[in-house]
Symmetry: C2
Subunit: 207 residues, 2 copies
DNA sequence: TGTACATCAGTGAACGCGCGTTCACTGATGTAC
DNA sequence: TGTACATCAGTGAACGCGCGTTCACTGATGTAC
């Protein structure tokens, strides 16, 4: 399992360099430019400058390619989130930063974000799986944070708190990305919405 | 614009009865059974017992069919939400019911729920549009409710409150529907998660 | 009531297309002796 | 250092497929006189 960034080696180990990485990058670009539906094995290979049959030396099939793409993206997001949670800042501020991290990821990497939460992708397979691992890692980061800050919080159950915060952030990210009227919102505006909604959550709705 | 339910007339006005309705129903069933990617014009027509060319007398193209499906589903959800918001119950209880309504819709009609928030579907067209109308109607119902209950709430801006609640509910619905581990959760479990998360939102995170 | 006509929902064949996957192959690289 | 061999990433042609869309048509229905 190679790290998602920086795996692009300059040496050419076999014939073509790191084709697996090149194919993932091509699929990433393609989905970002033309939409998730436009990602085909053939077009991905074409972009990587390689015959389409070559892809089968690196991925079992098309679904495997997409799952790998989603797994690497999820790992990147989990890493970014963990970093934010680890920075020793005040509780409310940390949560606001988390929300901003999340929605900026969703906006910057829209297509991958859609793949990450596409059940048609995640569904089968009971074996250990990079995508599922990355998702659990993200969830754990949240839960551990809430466990560590239990004294700040009314409700004791870290799982409920995690689900609540994650739902809020994920919902906001989805709405920002999938609503036509909000798609061109400047970054500052989106960040501000993230801060405001988290602030409501921290303070609560009822007087 | 026919209402989404009950438009199935028993008389046969022309040749085949209300084919538009039959096609929408076929697409709905198909997406529910086989997934959103499996909806094709040809298979939809096949299910409706009609040649695939017939669909073009009722929809401009495939996208139009899918948009119509999403629009009707959104209208149904907006109606259900408005009904819940209109019932004169205590604030916190109403919000919990809203959340339950929303996630039950998402779970019962997963495929349509995905179509409703598929940007690849919503994107173009500036003209008046049934899908966009239905979405705005749903949003307005929220905002009006918060406006009417402003005295109960700390933060004054109904738009921010709407976005916060909607994000929370939408995120939870998405997570419940798209996470393999949660897909087979029994209804009571899902409802309980909805109640708990809303309760956290109402009370707030910070002590 | 009967006839002529317009309407238009539904038909079935045809179009061109790009897809995912398989296959026998080729040819560069790394390894054993 | 040189030779024979195994490995395996990448090739290119071929497969069968179902798709969205178009088209000239047919035939049932509703309407005007």
């Amino acid at each position: 399992m190679s790290s998602s960034l920086g795996a692009q080696s300059t040496r050419s180990p076999y014939h073509h360099g790191n084709l697996r990485f090149a194919l993932l990058a091509a699929a990433r670009d393609l989905s970002q430019e033309q939409g998730t539906d436009s990602v085909t094995l053939r077009e991905t290979a074409r972009r990587a400058g390689v015959s389409h049959a070559a892809a089968y030396h690196h991925f079992a099939d098309k679904r495997d390619l997409l799952r790998s793409l989603a797994a690497e993206a999820t790992a990147d997001l989990a890493t970014a989130m963990s970093r934010t949670l680890a920075s020793d800042q005040p509780f409310a501020e940390t949560l606001e930063k988390i929300a901003i991290t999340y929605i900026e990821f969703a906006r910057d990497r829209q297509a991958e974000f859609r793949f990450m939460f596409s059940r048609e992708l995640c569904m089968p397979s009971g074996e250990p799986d990079a995508l599922r691992d990355a998702q659990l890692r993200m969830q754990d980061a949240f839960e551990n944070y809430f466990r560590a800050h239990g004294n700040l919080i009314q409700d004791a159950d870290p799982r409920t708190l995690t689900l609540t915060l994650w739902s809020l952030i994920h919902g906001l990210a989805t709405i920002l990305v999938e609503t036509p009227a909000l798609k061109d919102l400047p970054a500052e505006g989106a960040d501000e919405l993230a801060r405001q909604t988290v602030r409501v959550l921290v303070r609560g709705l009822a007087v």
